[in-house]
């Protein structure tokens, strides 16, 4: 268990708020209409799912931004909004500082050239009846990057595969997806995204369906692309520990809203928002067990932290309904620190030290006692 200060697998992340902003979301929302049922048929205000509300974020050149949150919190919806696969219900998207709204056709294609999306499922995203060569050639053609001669194309293909470390390229070009391992398939999917030579890569849970032993390789590849090609990367994950290692900046979502943000080390080691504190105290922590092997009992490492007690209440771990989300702070029904105003007023972002912020009334200027963010529980 060597403690190397700055080993390659964990290269220090560059601080956020540097680097040119490539893609920006300003207060975007997405509401999905709920299907008409007999019960709500006559209802004039048809219910909607508040999948994403009032989300703002900036993706910067040469930087990885992680979005973490539990299942159903709206992470994939954000990726699809940023890729303009759905229209937003509100808010604005800016590419290189210019507002964009693309429909279909040419404008959409131009946008895609800059902003590429890769999905969680490397099995579903490639067509099983076509070879790697077909997938990559098609992507190069769509973005006019196939060159003019067969030799140009061959060179472009080889270069793509080399970028994702599938070498020698000849070994993979004529393979079908089923002949590749999950990790290799995800590399092909990344290569296909790179065919557009984009400036933004949106990665929705790119490793969660892969085997533990190959996840690290894909994450290192993404980091390598960020560094060599100066890409802006959005890394969506439900695994907050991987955000600590691979993202420069980490944003935390809860029930469709952004609740906290800042540089990854700060957010994961000194979480400010009670939901982030719940998330970090729930993550497995072998050190805590090995240090204190009264394993079965609850350990409260930092005193006063939101430690997940032996919850007996059935709703303790339930995320709220997004059709009628809780008023005020959406976390208030589960929050041990909820105050009166949390039930009625939506907390805005409050800035803390070092670029960290939290949307929580505990940090309001006029809060009775502003707590310091949680110290790491190591």
């Amino acid at each position: 268990m060597a403690k190397t200060p700055d080993p390659p697998g964990t290269a220090t992340n560059s601080p956020p708020s540097e680097g040119e902003v490539v893609l920006e979301a300003r207060a975007i929302s997405k509401h999905f209409a709920v299907r008409r049922t007999l019960r709500n048929f006559a209802d004039r205000n048809r219910p909607v799912v508040h999948a994403v509300d009032d989300v703002s974020l900036k993706l910067r050149r040469g930087s990885v931004t992680a979005v973490v949150g539990e299942s159903g919190s709206g992470k994939s919806t954000i990726a699809r909004l940023l890729a303009q696969l759905y229209p937003t219900s509100g808010g604005q998207l800016l590419l290189h500082g210019k507002p964009t709204k693309v429909g279909q056709g040419r404008a959409f294609r131009a946008y895609c050239r800059q902003v590429q999306l890769i999905f969680q499922d490397p099995f579903g995203s490639l067509n099983p009846t076509h070879t790697v060569r077909y997938h990559l050639t098609r992507a190069l053609r769509i973005h006019n990057r196939a060159g003019r001669t067969a030799k140009d194309l061959e060179q472009a293909l080889a270069q793509l595969l080399e970028r994702v470390h599938l070498t020698p390229p000849e070994r993979y070009l004529d393979s079908f997806p089923h002949e590749l391992s999950g990790g290799q398939r995800q590399r092909v999917a990344i290569a296909r995204a790179m065919a557009a030579d984009p400036s933004v890569l949106l990665a929705d849970e790119p490793v969660s369906m892969l085997d533990v032993s190959i996840r690290l390789g894909i994450l290192n590849l993404l980091r390598d692309l960020k560094e060599r090609l100066n890409l802006a990367i959005l890394y969506i994950t439900h695994d907050i520990a991987s955000a600590r290692y691979f993202a420069d900046e980490t944003l935390v979502m809860y029930a469709g809203r952004m609740v906290e943000g800042g540089d990854s080390e700060t957010v994961t080691q000194r979480p400010a928002h009670p939901y982030t504190q719940l998330l970090t105290s729930s993550a497995p922590d072998p050190d805590r067990i090995v240090a204190d092997h009264s394993a079965a009992t609850t350990v409260d490492p930092a005193g006063g932290e939101v430690v997940v007690e032996e919850e007996e209440s059935e709703t303790a771990g339930e995320p709220p309904s997004l059709i009628s989300p809780p008023s005020g702070c959406r976390f208030h029904p589960r929050c041990p620190k909820a105050m009166e105003r949390c039930r009625t007023q939506v907390p805005p972002r409050f800035d803390l030290a070092d670029g960290q912020w939290a949307a929580c009334w505990l940090y309001a200027e006029d809060a009775p006692e502003r707590p310091a963010p949680q110290e790491a529980s190591a």
Binding site: M1, A2, K3, T4, P7, P8, G9, T10, E70, S71, S181, G183, Q184, D211, V212, S213, I214, R215, L216, G217, N220, H238, D239, I240, A241, S242, R244, Y245, F246, T268, L278, L279, T280, S282, A283, P284, D285, P286, D287, R288, I289, V290, H293, A295, A296, T298, V308, E310, E311, E312, S313, E314, A316, G317, E318, P319, A376, S377, A378
Partner: protein
């Protein structure tokens, strides 16, 4: 923990998928003992044979899976040992669920969508405890739900009205319905988020202490295993390659594969550690490398490794743990 008497002893177990030439040897020469009251963790990459082992031990393996050799002995609290592999189907029916139960991988999606939670729970009771009255079954179903932290008024719910975490807890309630001595959980929380995952595992730890059963806990998330199990066995290519107390594996993994697994997960807590990962990809069971199956990926492979299979043997100088690696062979 290993001082308590054994409740399940697996010896020389082999499982194939398919027959003859094309057979895939998914589980190879497994020896493993579960002691009374302990949580035994089983870790390994996907395809390493964890689920196959669980299915074989509970005799739930379906064709083309076949047990080609070995023995699985169950030691009840009273009475004589039972040789699980030689039970006939009538005996098996009585044995399964009441002595050993299994929560399948992805079980939360296997609840019947057209029946309420109540009828699914009472059906299990009806099948195995025919002498229970209907009122007794209702009462038992309600108490089972509250055991796993779900209020009894959810008995009338259909599966789609429950969240994933609640469905998973219903499956655990069902596994506990007949007070089994052994509960096998195959990736019980992999599809859930960490908050829900911890909640369920805590409930399970508490139940295990209260009801005194033993657990085999299967997952690829080794940091979770270290926290919730007493002992851990690591599988690679169908074999167990290392077995030790959870704490000891975490502190010093002897097998290079265990070491690699431990260094593949970024840790949230504590200082940032170097992540080395494991080079290469998991072995193809239809074309297993000769010798130690890990040798093509092993950073420490040396001369005997691609020739002979290392046996799972006590670590020299520490008889409480075993490892299958030439680096630690006593000769």
């Amino acid at each position: 923990m290993s001082s308590t008497p054994p409740v399940l002893e697996i010896s020389g177990l082999n499982v194939n998928y398919g027959l003859g030439e094309k057979a895939v040897h998914a589980v190879r020469d497994i020896n493993l003992t579960l002691h009374r009251g302990e949580v035994l963790g089983l870790a390994g990459e996907s395809g390493s044979g964890k689920s196959t082992l669980a299915y074989a031990v509970t005799r739930l393996l379906s064709p083309p899976g076949v047990i080609t050799g070995g023995e699985v002995r169950y030691h009840p609290r009273q009475g004589t040992d039972i040789d699980i592999l030689s039970l006939d189907s009538e005996q098996l029916r009585a044995f399964r669920w009441s002595e050993i139960s299994l929560v399948f991988q992805g079980a939360m999606n296997s609840l019947n969508p057209v029946h309420t939670v109540r009828s699914q729970l009472t059906d299990v009771l009806k099948a195995h405890r025919p002498d229970m009255t209907s009122a007794q079954r209702q009462k038992r179903a309600a108490s089972l739900l509250s055991l796993v932290g779900i209020s009894a008024d959810r008995l009338a719910s259909y599966p789609h009205q429950l969240s994933g975490g609640m469905r998973q807890r219903v499956m655990i309630a069902m596994a506990l319905a007949l007070d089994p001595e052994i509960v096998i959980l195959d990736e019980p929380t992999t599809a859930l988020d960490v908050v829900m995952q911890r909640q369920i595992l805590k409930q399970l730890s508490r139940l295990r202490r209260e009801l005194d059963f033993s657990v085999v806990f299967i997952t690829h998330d080794i940091s979770l295993l270290i926290e919730f199990s007493d002992r851990i066995a690591i599988m690679y290519g169908g074999r167990i390659v290392e077995e030790a107390a959870a704490k000891e594996i975490y502190q010093t993994a002897h097998h290079p594969y265990s070491h690699g697994l431990l260094h593949s997960f970024p840790a949230l807590h504590g200082p940032r550690r170097e992540l080395t990962g494991i080079p290469g990809s998991p072995p193809d069971l239809t074309a297993m490398p000769p010798g130690c199956a890990f040798h093509p990926r092993c950073p420490k492979a040396f001369e005997p490794c691609d020739q002979r299979v290392p046996a799972l043997e006590p670590v020299p100088g520490d008889g409480s743990r075993t490892v299958a690696c030439w680096l630690h062979a006593d000769h």
